[in-house]
Amino acid sequence: MFTVLPKADPDTQAFWDGCLQDQLLLQRCSACHVFRHPPRPVCPACLSDRFSWDRASGYGTVYTFVVVRRALGRGWEERIPYVVAVVELDEGAHFLTNIVNVEPEAVAIGMPVEVTFAELDGTTKLPVFQPRASAAAR
């Protein structure tokens, strides 16, 4: 399957390392305790550079989504249709991702989802989301 690999840097390495362990890590400011994503060196709320990498619950809801039906970059032909979404994590942060393991027509704003990790090439896993298994029971 066609993939684009992220090139981790010192600010983001821990995030991608977490994915390899099937863990969704979020930066959390040590001063004001706000979760943030994507990773960055300084808290946008209070400018503190102290933070921890906290394991997120992996749960959230679809905030908005797009069904990509035409390849808009070389190589993406074999992937269409695919769903790009912003998931509002239970921790509050917005998380840009894909919704998988569901027909695009069944995706809706507000749908409960959970993280799953897609193996890219043995060195990288991508955090994507699928309908939450226990959603009906919640």
């Binding site: 993939t3 684009v4 690999l5 992220p6 090139k7 981790a8 840097d9 600010d11 983001t12 994503h37 994507p38 946008p44 905030y63 908005t64 989504f65 797009v66 069904v67 990509v68 039906r69 035409r70 808009l72 970059g73 070389r74 993406w76 992937r79 695919y82 790009v84 979404a85 912003v86 917005h94 840009l96 991702t97 894909n98 695009p104 704003i109 890219l120 991508l126 994507v128």
Partner: protein, 383 residues
């Protein structure tokens, strides 16, 4: 009203020929627009002592303003590469006004051009950390980014795809009246609905095509402009606002950047939305126009869909929008043709697409998934 309002003006307008696969470089198109703007102003080339431009999207180059100045035989005392994508056009005019007001220069050339079709440089390479959190998920082009707030708008306010289509129809209708537009065959809402789905909810006709073209203006003091042969377009208000860099940073899917930029421009001009006769609004996607109309105060939040219906934004309607055809039907060029079209309307020189009696025009430039907005208000006289 600020003392800056009506102090500076657009004194020269230049547009290159536009189209697809013109086989000309972005530099060639930019030089064509620049030389036409200088000639249109009636100024000697040597009077130009500032150059504001943006490195082309597909042939990026450092110090592009210096290269452009060299090609024009200029020795400017102020240059800048304004790298703000679709907000760069209005931001160049803002930069020019700031430099003029600071006494750094007297006469500024602003030019913006692209050759986006045909042979070009590679794209889609990971070049910044933010792309690590977009490209692997298949967020590889603007339609995907912008369809996300569009979907959210439909969800929150009941906005429909047909209402997006009304924007595409209006732009095409206006392009049909513009000899220098790329796409001039009329379209209907039904055509819009029948066009292929690209990034749902966006159909193909919601998305502006890539095109080739460049446009330019000369900005100088009103005192100088009044001595020139053609009527100046007065800069009544201008403002910029940045709230986020990419959709990933957006706290919500509204645009406080658009709101902030327009409020600054309104405050400088002493005008309000009801005083505006023509609107040239950045339209990389139909939805963005709808959102801009809301944030610029022409209707309430959530009412953009209803506002664009029934020809209200077409020529003859209450607020003609994108009278030159816009990015959707005329040319992309990062929105600089919105400025030249607004200035042409203020001169009363827009021919078949002239808005009768138009005295004021507002221009929106935006990028960064609506996180960066620059707003310009022009008038045919100082208020």
């Amino acid at each position: 009203m600020s003392a800056l309002s009506g102090k500076y003006a657009i004194a020269g307008i230049g547009e290159s020929n536009v189209g697809r696969k013109l086989g000309r470089s972005a530099m060639a198109l930019s030089l064509e627009a620049a030389t036409r703007a200088i000639a249109d102003s009636g100024l000697e080339r040597s009077a130009v002592d500032a150059v504001l431009t943006r490195s082309p999207r597909r042939q990026p180059q450092t110090n592009y303003s210096a290269v452009l100045a060299s090609h024009l035989g200029l020795r400017p005392s102020y240059i800048n590469d304004v790298g703000l994508g679709g907000a760069s056009s209005v931001a160049m005019v803002l930069d020019a006004v700031a430099a003029l007001e600071a006494g750094l220069c007297t006469t500024a050339l602003c030019v913006n051009g692209d050759a986006q079709t045909g042979r070009g440089n590679l794209r889609g390479q990971l070049t910044s950390w933010i792309e690590d959190f977009e490209h692997p998920f298949g967020v590889v082009a603007a339609p995907i980014t912008y369809a996300m707030p569009a979907r959210r708008h439909m969800y929150e306010y009941g906005t429909t795809s047909e209402q997006f289509g009304a924007v595409a129809v209006a732009c095409r209708k206006h392009a049909a009246l513009n000899p220098n537009a790329t796409f001039r065959d009329p379209i209907t809402i039904a055509d819009h609905q029948a066009s292929p789905m690209v990034a749902e909810p966006f159909h193909l006709l919601d998305c502006c095509p890539v095109t080739d073209g460049a446009a330019a203006v000369i900005v100088t003091s009103v005192e100088r402009a009044r001595d020139l042969p053609k009527a100046p377009a007065y800069i009544l208000g201008i403002g910029l606002q940045n709230t986020h860099a990419e959709v990933q940073y957006a706290a919500s899917m509204t645009s406080p950047a658009m709101r902030g930029a327009s409020q600054r421009a309104y405050a400088m001009s002493g005008l309000s939305p009801k005083d505006i006769d023509v609107a040239e609004l950045y339209d990389c996607f139909t939805y963005v126009v709808l959102m801009t109309l809301e944030e610029y105060g022409f209707c309430k939040k959530g009412e953009g869909g209803a506002f664009v219906e029934n020809g209200r934004i077409e020529l003859g309607g209450e607020l003609p929008v994108n009278t030159g055809g816009g990015l959707l039907s005329q040319v992309h060029s990062s929105g600089f043709f919105h400025i030249t079209e607004a200035a042409t309307q203020m001169r009363g020189a827009a021919g078949a697409r002239q808005v009768a009696g138009a005295q004021t025009a507002i221009v929106s430039g935006q990028c960064g998934a609506t996180g960066i907005n620059a707003c310009l208000i022009l008038g045919n006289h100082a208020h």
